[in-house]
């Protein structure tokens, strides 16, 4: 036995007992955390409000009514108790029709003190995987490093504490920022116009399709069908339907690209648009993009490009040179704004000259040194064809500031390097694994920013899901699984450019190890993950008996 001078044992001893249950259910740093409804209550608050409220010359006073006393300056901070609910003062005029509307029953919102709340959310955060923790190779999601400079500039009061309806003279810098990002997006895509207001990628798709439909209607051409490749993101057909179109699939060739001949055959007077993802979701560049665009245009239709995968070509290829009419850009992918556990995103849409007149309102225009917002009232003069407004106010300003910081940091030269490194990293993964994993389009040439594998060759009963869960135990977030639909058990790996070679090598090693276990039928893999905060979750139960809100067990029981 080894001891230090105080007699404290300084070497591990005793039996390793990984399965010992703890009193708390915690496992050291892996901490279980109840719901706020189980730890908070209606009487606790973590906010000290600035009582008493406004008071003017003793008129209509909240302070008198609430018995707040004469001490303290109105509006200042005092520890005084809040006014009792019944004492809310209303002038005669404002009281009309109001009393019956005051809440009489509790809402059921638990409060926590600040330390409790901080701990609750900090504990929850530690049950999440994140880019800040490691490689996050979700294909078509472009999980790259989120620079903290972005966060810093987005919080400058001049951007963060500005109201969207302030007089235009008071927000010239904000308009200038929007204009700056718009200008970069136009130049990077080689397109003449951009709509900045769409809130996310799917919203951008909608923006593009509405512009297309408006352009067609403007020439009296009512078309009813949008063509979407089988490998498209689910948002593409959903958006086309949302915009009022019937959706038809176009098949892929055996090499994983759009079947140009099949597409050409389907084109006709009823086809409004073709939605194409380029690079596509098999990780391949659509070589025929220009020919497709020419054929689509010749048939009187438009080309919508899903720009989710723009990271593969940013700075090296401009979609405008390939005949694209509209394309959304996910600022939360290519331009590094954070995904935040599912948003917010931002999906500006660039437009060709043919569609630019139909772009939505509002947008920022520059005249000399002055910026102004083109809204409904000013649009009639020189933007009469706009299809209208898609969203209140004018888009995801907080994402524009972050994207601007990213763009300026990289510059034109850095962005070119971004796509080069993203593509190089993906090819490195593809070629380091294609001897072990089936790469269905591995012979179709180099991949772009993502590498696609199938679950072909796994042991009986072993699938992509097992490989994904095995990767979790190895400390990695899994790749996109079961998408695109054109490949059985698809595994779509997008490393992005912000991974070092050492990280890639470790990931490759881990994936090889897990894939080998799946090929050998290792039963422990079927039960993975073993080391995550939770084991595999019962999704069927969740869907069959949906529990979408918390209910007090006692109340719920009493109700039954």
């Amino acid at each position: 036995m080894s001891m230090n001078r105080q007699g404290r044992v300084s070497r591990p001893e005793g039996e390793t007992a990984a399965n010992t249950e703890t009193f708390t259910g915690n496992r050291a740093l892996m901490l279980e955390e109840p719901l706020i409804f189980e730890i908070g209550n209606e009487h606790t608050t973590g906010v000290d409000l600035p009582y008493p409220p406004l008071d003017f010359e003793g008129k209509g006073t909240a302070r008198e009514a609430s018995g707040g006393g004469a001490a303290g300056v109105a509006g200042g901070l005092t520890p005084a108790a809040p006014p009792p609910p019944s004492a809310v003062p209303l002038p005669e005029q404002a009281r009309g029709g109001f009393e019956g509307l005051l809440r009489t029953r509790p809402i059921g919102l638990p409060g926590l003190s600040e330390p409790e709340a901080t701990r609750h959310y900090t504990r929850l955060s530690r049950q999440n995987y994140a880019i800040d923790l490691g490689l996050f190779p979700l294909g078509s999601c472009t999980m790259k490093h989120n620079p903290r400079l972005n966060e810093k500039v987005a919080r400058l009061p001049g951007f963060a504490d500005v109201h969207p309806l302030q007089p235009q003279e008071t927000v010239q810098g904000a308009y200038a920022l929007i204009y700056l990002v718009a200008d970069w997006l136009c130049k990077l895509t080689g397109m003449p116009a951009v709509a900045m207001s769409p809130k996310a990628g799917a919203h951008g798709e909608l923006c593009g399709l509405l512009a297309i439909r408006s352009a067609l209607e403007a020439r009296g051409d009512m078309r009813s069908v949008v063509l979407v490749p089988e490998s498209a993101h689910g948002t593409n057909p959903a958006t086309a339907a949302f915009a009022g179109y019937a959706v038809e699939n176009i098949p892929a060739t055996p090499e994983g690209r759009v079947d140009f001949e099949a597409l050409k055959r389907r084109l006709g007077p009823d086809v409004a648009a073709v939605m194409i993802t380029n690079p596509n979701t098999c990780g391949l560049f659509e070589r025929d993009m220009k020919r497709i665009a020419d054929a689509v245009h010749a048939a009187g239709a438009f080309v919508y490009c899903d720009g989710a995968n723009f990271n593969a070509i940013v700075g090296r290829v401009r979609p405008g040179d390939l005949g694209v009419d509209a394309m959304h850009i996910n600022l939360h992918k290519t331009f590094s704004t954070p995904h935040g556990g599912g948003g917010p995103g931002s999906g500006p849409v660039v437009f060709s000259a043919a569609l630019a007149p139909f772009a939505p309102l509002p947008f920022v225009e520059k005249q000399g040194d002055h910026y102004h917002l083109v809204e409904e009232e000013t649009a009639e003069e020189h933007h009469a064809h706009s299809f209208g407004r898609m969203v209140a106010f004018h888009g995801q300003m907080g994402m524009f500031t972050r994207a601007a910081a990213y763009m300026l940091s990289h510059g034109a030269d850095g962005l070119r390097q971004v796509s080069e490194d993203a593509v190089l990293n993906a090819n490195y993964i593809l070629r380091s694994l294609d001897d072990l994993l089936d790469a269905p389009f591995g012979d179709s040439g180099p991949c772009m920013h993502e590498a696609l594998f199938s679950d072909d060759g796994m042991a009986e009963g072993f699938t992509t899901l097992d490989i994904a869960k095995g990767l979790i135990d190895e400390g990695f977030h899994p790749m996109t699984m079961y998408f695109p639909l054109v490949v059985h058990g698809a595994m779509l790996v997008e490393p992005t450019e912000t991974e070092s070679k050492a990280n890639l090598d470790q990931f490759i090693g881990a994936l090889r190890s897990v894939a080998a276990r799946a090929k050998n039928g290792d039963p422990s893999l079927k039960a993975a993950p073993h080391f995550a905060p939770r084991r595999r979750l019962d999704e069927t139960l969740a869907a069959r008996k949906p529990v979408l809100v918390w209910k007090d067990p006692e109340v719920a029981q009493a109700a039954e």
Binding site: T45, G46, V47, L49, P53, F56, A62, G75, P82, P91, Q93, P106, L112, T122, R126, D132, M143, K144, H145, E151, G158, D161, V162, H163, P164, L165, Q166, W184, K187, E205, H233, G234, P237, A240, R316, V317, R318, N330, G340, G341, G342, P344, F387, V391, A392, F393, G395, G398, A412, D413, Y428, P446, K501, A532, R534, R536, D538, E539, A542, V549
Partner: protein, 452 residues
């Protein structure tokens, strides 16, 4: 470049490993004429962190910051004090840099938070269930109209004149393409809302009535009668809340019978941010849940029987149902939902109620003070923290003149309803806990001088 870890040595080793002689070989599928040979023209090259910060700070400085002047703007975006804890937590990398929780075993933090958020929102709005957020209030409002169409199989929506004009505008844009029939009207500078008019318009073809609570002029009205009359005719009541703090004091729309309640959650936890990102709230009665748009988080158990959370009922969603999905929404407002939820947890029932009372009392005091200015008349018969003044002069140029004097006086109805003569004297003024007596005095004095 500081964000790119590959070294030149790495790059050449990797190129060799993939069998390419140069990186250009990897772009061989791009048509030659579309391959650019160098950096795109007309854009600067990379810059240091210091330089970028300076450039962007220079733009930020050109804006008048709400917190630095007397400030009274609302109309769908409100300036509230957000506790420092909120911004600290949402900047934790595990929340900030996580993706949509598609792998639930390593996303329980986000999922549990969403479950808590859904419960908070459902309770606040008075509904059985809520989803994991929408983009914002305006898009949530349109989604509610389409949901009502799916449920009732009718396509005529009656839109209250008190609905935020941007929300109306969004709905009009969409309805033009979907074929929905929208009945809209302009608000009038009157004490009461248009509830009675709406009641008279409901008929057997009406899918839903859409009403904002409090409305765009700040007026508050009981929705119970409207809900009952809508239900009699087989129509739904859709309520829109753009200032959720109001629900700390006022009965929720759900309590009054609304079937779908949507809202803009920006007031709680999310700053003004010049209009976005915000967070759309979406709640409804349980029986309609399968017609809801957007993500839903649900409770379940893991292989060891421990409670856990997953995204569920995804057969409504685009990644499963594609063109048959209830909506095309994918990315929502996860991080803003987190901010909302943290702020709401810090407030709790007691804090929210106190905050609402504080806002209302402040607004009452401010309305009284401002209504004493000659040439100023209070329009509202009721209000929460926002009210409309009828000025003796046109409001829009007045707002600009006051901005020149360093006072952001509110939102003129001329800005929201350009060209509508009957509204051009209207000014909507919002008062929150951030408004000081000095701010109100400054506005009163400036109004008095300008209107004299």
């Amino acid at each position: 470049m500081r964000y790119l870890p590959l070294t030149p040595v790495d790059r050449s080793a990797m190129l060799q490993a993939v069998g390419a002689s140069s990186v250009d070989d990897l772009f061989v599928d791009v048509p030659a004429e579309a391959r650019l040979s160098g950096p795109i023209a007309g854009l600067p090259n990379h810059a240091s962190e210091l330089s970028v910060e300076r450039q962007l700070a220079a733009l930020a400085r050109q804006n008048t910051v709400a917190g630095e002047v007397p400030f009274f703007l609302g109309c769908g975006a409100y300036r509230h004090h957000v506790p420092a804890t909120v911004d600290h937590i949402i900047q934790r990398g595990e929340f900030l840099t996580a993706y949509t929780p598609y792998q639930p075993e390593i996303a329980q933090g986000t999922l549990q938070m969403l479950f808590e958020f859904q419960t908070q929102v459902a309770r606040l709005l008075g509904c059985d269930v809520a989803n994991a957020s929408m983009y914002d209030g305006s898009t949530a409002c349109w989604e509610a109209i389409t949901m009502a169409r799916r449920i009732t199989r009718r396509a005529k929506a009656l839109i209250s004149a008190g609905l935020h004009p941007h929300y109306v505008s969004v709905a009009k844009t969409m309805a033009r393409f979907t074929g929905d029939e929208l009945h809209t009207a302009l608000p009038e500078l009157e004490a009461a809302t248009d509830i009675d008019t709406l009641i008279g318009q409901i008929d057997g073809d009406t899918s839903c009535v859409v009403v904002q609570y409090p409305d765009i002029l700040g007026r508050v009205a009981d929705l119970s009668e409207l809900a009952a009359r809508a239900h009699e005719k087989g129509a739904l009541l859709v309520a829109v809340v753009t200032e959720p703090v109001a629900l700390g004091l006022l009965k929720s729309p759900g309590e009054m019978g609304a079937d779908i309640v949507v809202g803009e959650g920006q007031s709680i936890g999310v700053g003004l941010q010049f209009g976005g990102p915000y967070v759309g709230l979406f709640a409804c009665k349980e029986k309609f849940v399968r017609q809801m748009p957007g993500r839903l988080c649900g409770e379940t158990v893991d292989a060891e029987g421990k409670r856990g959370f997953v995204l569920t009922l995804s057969t409504r969603e685009q990644h499963i149902r594609r063109e048959k999905a209830t909506s095309n929404i994918c990315t929502n407002s996860g991080l803003c939902a987190l901010a909302f939820s943290i702020h709401m947890t810090l407030l709790g029932e007691k804090g929210l109620r106190g905050l609402a009372e504080l806002n209302h009392a402040g607004a009452v005091a401010a309305a009284e003070r401002l209504a004493r200015v000659p040439g100023v008349e209070l329009v509202n018969g009721s209000f929460f923290n926002e009210f409309t003044l009828k000025l003796s002069k046109e409001a829009r140029p007045l707002v600009r003149r006051l901005a020149d004097r360093g006072i952001l006086a509110g939102v003129s109805l001329g800005r929201l309803y350009p060209g509508v003569d009957a509204l051009e004297h209207g000014l909507v003024v919002a008062v929150t806990e951030t408004t000081t007596p000095e701010d109100v005095e400054a506005l009163a004095a400036a109004l008095q001088e300008d209107l004299a």
